[in-house]
Amino acid sequence: MLPNPAIQGAYDKVTWLYVYRDFSGNKKDRAAERISLRFGVTSWPQLFLVDPETFEIKKHTGRSVESFLAAVAATRVGRTQSLQAWERTKAAEERAIALERASSGKLARKYIDDEDIVVRNRALSLLAKTDRKAIVKRANELLQVPSDPFRYEVCKVLQETADPAAADALEAIVKRPQNSLNPNVLRIRAVQALSTCGDASSIEAIAPFAQSGVYFNGLTGVSVDALAAIAERHKKARRAVRAALKKGYPKPPSAGDARSMRACVGLAKRIHRAIGEKRPFPKVYDEKARAKLMK
């Protein structure tokens, strides 16, 4: 346990900031959430070095001493006499805290285009509670904001409001989730939104994920469900959805891997239901059964 000679030499090479979230929503947790929002952190743990002036992520350190020390040695930031950057952060923190305390959409509309990403996130959360139309109206533009938590929230509002005008931007995210620290989850959120906003033209973007056969990835099942929801709402999409889903029956794992088999059969049954397959699901799901179902 520390103090540890292996990294003691780095104690004065960086400023150490520990950010712990318990999701209680209390004052401490909200402060930790604001730091997470500033850097787009939505999965844990995350360890990285940032420039204190710009908050640009300079290096992900990894979790071994060797990778950590190498990242510290390779990261240089300029010394500055100015505390302007600190003053900007302080003012932004004050705006973000004001938004946390606000209950009407007025302040949110004022700050939704703020220069600071934390303030924008807080404004968006408040708009999601008070004025979802303001988000829907600008959905395409808001989906371009390079912040995962911000885009998750926009996707959630779109899923709830089912606005077809946002489908193109959502499909673009599913195909290429740019500037994301967590592209798989961003895809999941966009696919969930497409389940209510999408139509036949969304099938092309979603199908590769429904067909991946990766039964341990939540994106696969969500994609299957989204295609089924699109087929349910759009008669013209039904044939294409059925054809796409039939290709998604997953390859059975090697014998003896019970955990994988359970997950595999779970996905196969999910596809079976989504297709509305009249044939009963086979008692044994193996290569032969899979080939029959795919016909």
Partner: protein, 56 residues
């Protein structure tokens, strides 16, 4: 040198062993407040090392 390579990974694992705890791992001079950390880093010309963790 080779012994050092063997020991180091274990060392950081020990340092990070309290991940998921509200209390940071012992040793480094941790800050908990972004503004305090930013001010210190700017004044000393150092990067900020952020360690994000959450409740288990």
């Amino acid at each position: 040198m080779s012994m050092c390579k063997t020991i180091l990974p274990f060392a950081l694992c020990a340092a990070m062993a309290q991940a998921g705890s509200e209390t940071p791992p012992k040793g480094p001079p941790w800050q908990r407040d972004l503004l305090a950390a930013q001010k210190q880093a700017l004044e000393n010309g150092r990067p900020i090392f952020l360690y994000f963790t959450k409740t288990d």
